[in-house]
Amino acid sequence: MTSTRALIAEDEPLLAAALAADLDALWPGLQLVASVGDGLSAIERALALKPDVCFLDIRMPGCSGLEVAQALAEDWPADAPFPLLVFVTAYDQFALQAFEAQAVDYVVKPPERARLQACVARLQARLAERGAGSGLQGTLDQLRALLSGPLPAGSGALAQQSAPGAPPPRLNVIQAQVGSTVHFVPVDEVIYFEAADKYLRVVTAHKEHLIRLSLKDLLPQLDGTRFWQIHRGTVVQARCIASARRDDSGKVFIQLHGRPETLTASRLYAHLFKGM
């Protein structure tokens, strides 16, 4: 039997070292292939090294553990088994509630030996029974439930545990600044939004603009029945979709009215494109 390979994503160096030491003691066959301190490195290293197990801190710089999970679910190659995910958190009430409800593995910092032992046992049992390719579907379902549940995807949102429930007002117009001019783009004319580094591309039939806003912060201000998230970095206006075609890996390719390019919907959102 080949050894099990693990990745730890934890931004606090002492806690990362301690988790590694505890796992080493509890799970002799476990090989730690990477220990990273931020979410973006976690995505990159996990996709490159394809570990069997990922321990993901919830609050990390770059992006949160949940966002890492989302990115992995979207970009994981179809031919490798999807890793088992364990979320690690010090104190995030909402996160804990959500995980308990969704039965995703999680441990609380600092993990007690007994609790970590139980987690290791569960992981070993899951690894023993899984075949190549399995696990992804279950993770997709869990992630969909987590992302649509009471738990917002962003770490920033996790930090606002007592944020009042009033939803932000709907956006009617996008104000995009170019130099000293501000262009007003009616939201209804936007065909899709696409995340580009720290910016957001706002694409209409004839133009595109860059605004300094994250997709995460834009989403609550859009009407979810008209604007569909189809990827962690893409939101498209439903009436602008001409057709959707599914490929073998579970991705969906989308043709648009008014734009020549093809958009890709990830596995996480492919279920939106079923025929009636």
Partner: protein, 286 residues
């Protein structure tokens, strides 16, 4: 209130006499026949009695009202102290610090002890801050240094810190832990989310006869994610309301982005105290 008292005083005696006559069957001289001395005495006595009793009733009502107000104020104060305490003992910070401490105990007992001392000093100051009105600026810097040292254990080399307190300002009184929410915001919303971390600079200076306290960081800034309205709102609101309660419009808090640079700048300006109220820094040394 006053017209009611007058009305009662004027009508009361007449009505009383009429009622009394009806019961006893006697006939008292009219109050309005001013030539009768007896009537005038009766009128004076009953007027006085009416005024006194109405006034007593009015005072009683005022007193009850004042008591209710004092009670409400006490409750509001207790509530705000609790909120202050809760915000300073942010559970995520506390549990992460304890998790780190647990690891350090096994790795490096001496460092663990030093970290625990910082945590104790920080907790003690937090509990006291909700009671004391002022402490010297030097003590404020020490407590913030405790908090930053705890954060440095957690964040490792990702957090760099500079503290600049000129010696002549050490004794100036400031509200306890007034800088804490600003420092916490800088770390939580500016530096922690930034992959490479950054530097937090805390400084004090005199400017135009006012004490100017500055917290700046080179983190991701206010605009990133547009999260200012939600995440930093509570801490800032609390600092503002404390400043307002203590100094009225003489103190201010301003939050801005640094033009052309990364990060956030928070500035508190306080009026200088009158010379005799200056505290001695030695009195609160840990």
């Amino acid at each position: 209130m006053l017209p009611l008292i007058l009305l009662a005083a004027l009508l009361g005696p007449g009505l009383g006499l009429t009622l009394g006559d009806a019961i006893t069957g006697l006939r008292s001289p009219s109050l309005w026949s001013l030539d009768a001395t007896a009537s005038r005495v009766t009128l004076a006595i009953s007027l006085l009695a009416t005024v006194v009793s109405v006034f007593a009733g009015w005072m009683h009502e005022r007193l009850t009202h004042a008591q209710a107000q004092a009670e409400a104020a006490r409750r509001a104060q207790a509530e705000s102290q609790l909120r202050l305490l809760q915000s300073q003992l942010e559970p995520h910070m506390l549990f992460n610090t304890l998790a780190n401490l647990r690891v350090l105990i096994g790795l490096d007992a001496t460092r663990a002890q030093a970290m625990l001392d910082r945590l104790i000093a920080y907790l003690r100051a937090t509990l006291q801050a909700s009671r004391a009105v002022e402490h010297p600026l030097a003590a404020e810097f020490e407590r913030i240094a405790d908090y930053l040292a705890l954060m440095q254990v957690r964040m490792g080399p990702r957090l760099a810190v500079s503290l600049d307190l000129p010696a002549e300002l050490r004794a100036l009184p400031v509200p306890p832990l007034i800088l804490q929410p600003l420092v916490e915001n800088s770390i939580q919303h500016g530096l922690e989310p930034q992959v490479e971390g950054g530097r937090l600079t805390l400084s004090a200076a005199l400017q135009s006869g006012r004490l100017r306290l500055t917290v700046r960081d080179d983190g991701i800034g206010l605009g990133a994610g547009g999260r200012l309205p939600h995440s930093t709102g509570f801490g800032l609101e609390q600092v503002r309301s404390r400043l307002h309660t203590l100094y009225g419009s003489a103190a201010s808090l301003a939050l801005s982005e640094l033009p052309g640079e990364r990060g956030t700048l928070a500035v508190i300006e306080l009026p200088l105290p009158s010379p005799e109220s200056t505290l001695t820094p030695s009195s609160t040394a840990p």
